[in-house]
Assembly symmetry: C2
Homo-oligomer: 577 residues x 2
Amino acid sequence: MAELRIALAQIDTCVGAIDQNTAKILEWTRRAAGEGAHVVAFPEMTLTGYPIEDLALRASFRRAAWAAAADVAAQLEREGLGGVTVVLGTVGTAGTPDTPERAASGAPADLPTNRAVVIQHGEVLAAYDKHHLPNYGVFDEFRIFAPGTEPLVVEIEGRAVGIVICEDIWQDGGPITTLGGLDEAGHGIDLLLVLNGSPYEEGKGHVRTDLAARRAAEVDAPVAYVNMVGGQDDLVFDGGSFVVGPDGSVLTSSPQFVEDLLVWDLPARTSSADLTGTAPATVYPTGRIAPPLHPDEEVYRACVTGLAGYVRKNGFRSIVLGLSGGIDSALTATLAADAIGGQNVVGVSMPSSYSSEHSKDDAADLAKRLGADYRVQPIAPMVEAFQGELALEGVAEENLQARVRGVVLMAISNREGHLVIAPGNKSELAVGYATIYDAGSIGGYAPLKDVDKSRVWALARWRNDAALDAGEIPPIPESSITKPPSAELRPGQTDQDSLPPYDLLDEVLDAYIEHAEGRAELLARGFDPEVVDKVVTLVDRAEWKRRQYPLGPKVTSLAFGRDRRLPVTSRWREPAE
Amino acid sequence: MAELRIALAQIDTCVGAIDQNTAKILEWTRRAAGEGAHVVAFPEMTLTGYPIEDLALRASFRRAAWAAAADVAAQLEREGLGGVTVVLGTVGTAGTPDTPERAASGAPADLPTNRAVVIQHGEVLAAYDKHHLPNYGVFDEFRIFAPGTEPLVVEIEGRAVGIVICEDIWQDGGPITTLGGLDEAGHGIDLLLVLNGSPYEEGKGHVRTDLAARRAAEVDAPVAYVNMVGGQDDLVFDGGSFVVGPDGSVLTSSPQFVEDLLVWDLPARTSSADLTGTAPATVYPTGRIAPPLHPDEEVYRACVTGLAGYVRKNGFRSIVLGLSGGIDSALTATLAADAIGGQNVVGVSMPSSYSSEHSKDDAADLAKRLGADYRVQPIAPMVEAFQGELALEGVAEENLQARVRGVVLMAISNREGHLVIAPGNKSELAVGYATIYDAGSIGGYAPLKDVDKSRVWALARWRNDAALDAGEIPPIPESSITKPPSAELRPGQTDQDSLPPYDLLDEVLDAYIEHAEGRAELLARGFDPEVVDKVVTLVDRAEWKRRQYPLGPKVTSLAFGRDRRLPVTSRWREPAE
């Protein structure tokens, strides 16, 4: 029995773009064939994109996906590539509703499944439906899919390959347990293939490889883990595909945040005489290994990947945003320039009478460094027109300035077709240090919505240092990083007039929002009770306002942490004890 | 064995407002006791409000709910009402994660449950955890709760009462099946009590009573169905509690859309000799029956209930909206006046150079009829200030006017504390006949987001006729109902310049959006292919734009139909075949 060459195609798909995903599958299969691969594996729900949410329930969409799988098979056969085994993800059907409550709810008789199909010689040979349907955090799979119940082992070039999907390996007692045994001839499986759509979270790489190593030991065979890459809506997929051996060692791995074809040879099977225990254990070869990224680089590239995917997949080529001279808009513009090119970024300085000279200078300097289209649009004439009619004071006046800037950006977007993006960061959005419908919160995407203020500074410094290391000009003006943050909506205003220092604020926010701790737990951590009360009150109030006006960007860690769904009207406030 | 007097307390709770819900439970228990009831039953999740979504995952919230249940028990005992059995809904805990995937996801060790508790003589006597957790449409219960596995039958005044929660009766094979048999003494249960949080859908009343009748026949005992009432976020609960006998007849019922205490006597048990079959079957008494509402009245009152709940539960006392003189803002203002009183409604006419005289007259006339605070705020000075700087043309200019109106409303809201509401209707939002961030789409709540344009006219006519019948002045000026609809953003513009006639449009929208039909099914219904292509293209494009800018009001039938979650970036378009 010869070696089996496998190729893991870590590609970037787009939800709903069946034709485009099909073309990509054909292209990468040709590449894998060119590398001599016997089998090429694609990520979870390759044909349909992932996550498809309620699109799975539309019958015409499912019909199109089924036709596309047959097209892939036929096309490869026509091209003489029918001998390459292709394993890809798509939407299947369970035939009947899986649970009585779904039947009672009027769900369609043919509930969809999250399916892997095996294509060979012009045909769809076998199918596997994902058993474990995650329905927590950002996942809604139990909502839309029926679970599979059967395991799948296919023979490829005489080797037994088990196939499962993503969440199936995240629990003990899953379909893996049925793959660990030996068949009648005394053989177990030779390889476990896992198709994944695993969203990026900080530091998740090790969790994945550790978990896969446990499964590899259980089935006594290598685990090949292929993950998707790219930004999709508010999720970021980081790739980082790998093969891990039954002894827990990572044998080969793809880099994060880029498409990649990872080729690896499963060695020939040793003879069954080895089962006596006298022969040496199989030695698995080691391929290329992607070096780990610095934590700040990892987060920075996750932000770039998310934004680039959002812009491109929504059919935009350019972005417009307000440049205040502050750190948030400076970092957001830099991310945008790295995502789609500085020449496709329009930065608009919209000074008011409260804007400092250095702010305007810093905004201009930033745009120049990025090669962005820079414009200055004073807001005084419009603010004066509103004030002549409405005579607003205090916060209402501050908000008016902020909203006039929002209207300017939307008008430029309407006229020229750029996507408006919002530079609001997680800390200020969490405590409500923002105006609904202002230039910091309107728009289609808020690249920093999951990045707290402390991290904003860290990412800016990392990006500038990376430029210096590469012999380039650092993109972000030093004074944008070092000056005290201010919204500049009234004279001499700084963020710390109304907020605790950001390093402290961010620690409390992390405990209260990300870890859902209550006041008692926060105090037990040793935080000052006054700070805890202030932050909890601000967050509760801001979250309430945001839910009342369901139009601001979502804040809570969609990409990097837990999704949270909360009732709009909840009167719940963290009790004082 | 004497009669058992039961009271169904159809009350309006608020999510998160544990203290307020507790007070209401005490108040209605006193009322029930005053009526001589032995048992009072409250709706699903009474103490916590419903639906609580991810709030269930916050430990400090759960602790507060558990303390409140003990408080209710102790307080009733102190008041000498410990002999009244109280059945109410709250959040429980399952002790351990129910499924391995949840355990793997890092879910808390004590997953919450959707619980009913039985309180008597100062103690929580028994608990039942909902078995069937709906996770489709507007429901997310599998996401947050662990399912119960045990049935519950409690003895109240010597009678066997089975208790289940909402979805538990919606399927065959649920916990009901274990309640249908006879116990060792040859008795089955005497009554099945169902606690509900069943959202309003048009015509759902009959579905509920038919279903409950089936379960009553199965357990051979009456089913007492208590439902919550009131608006909560984007859901409307209509009440309509009832008791149905095992022969399928509705024995008594509460009206929809109001709080109500429905008292009914379960007759004394006939002797066991009856089991010989020779004795007559139990005769169940008939109480008051609420007459059914006219379909337009039902929808109208659902809209009023939803809006009233949203305003009050979010802590507002007044509303501001733009009045264009058109039918949508006229109906929205009338709904608002019915929800919170005309004196609490601020209507702002914001004429531009394209506004017709009759529009301004109609807006003023409407405000006068409603007793609303009426203001005129021309937008020309602000539009001219923007145009002096930006020189916009075409759609960008139209959108500018619309957005300036949005800023005016938000400024008035900031200054005076009113909630901004949006008058956009379902048809125009569905086809994108609206501007992002304009006066028709900004705000916290869009009362007509689930009402198509044909229905808008029908509701307006119904409301005016109802006023005439009551000898009152019809609130909506006749010309707002009869004139051709127009956005008045350019000279002579009407909706039908760019849209099919609304009656036809609404039929296609219903099939395409509500029933998720594809192009093939639409053509098979006999719709003109040209109209189908136009509508499908408009909807796909509008939905895409709306998802790109996740800030407009949600459109698809949250209150009256299916919730739909779709990926923002989906490239899927209904194919031409």
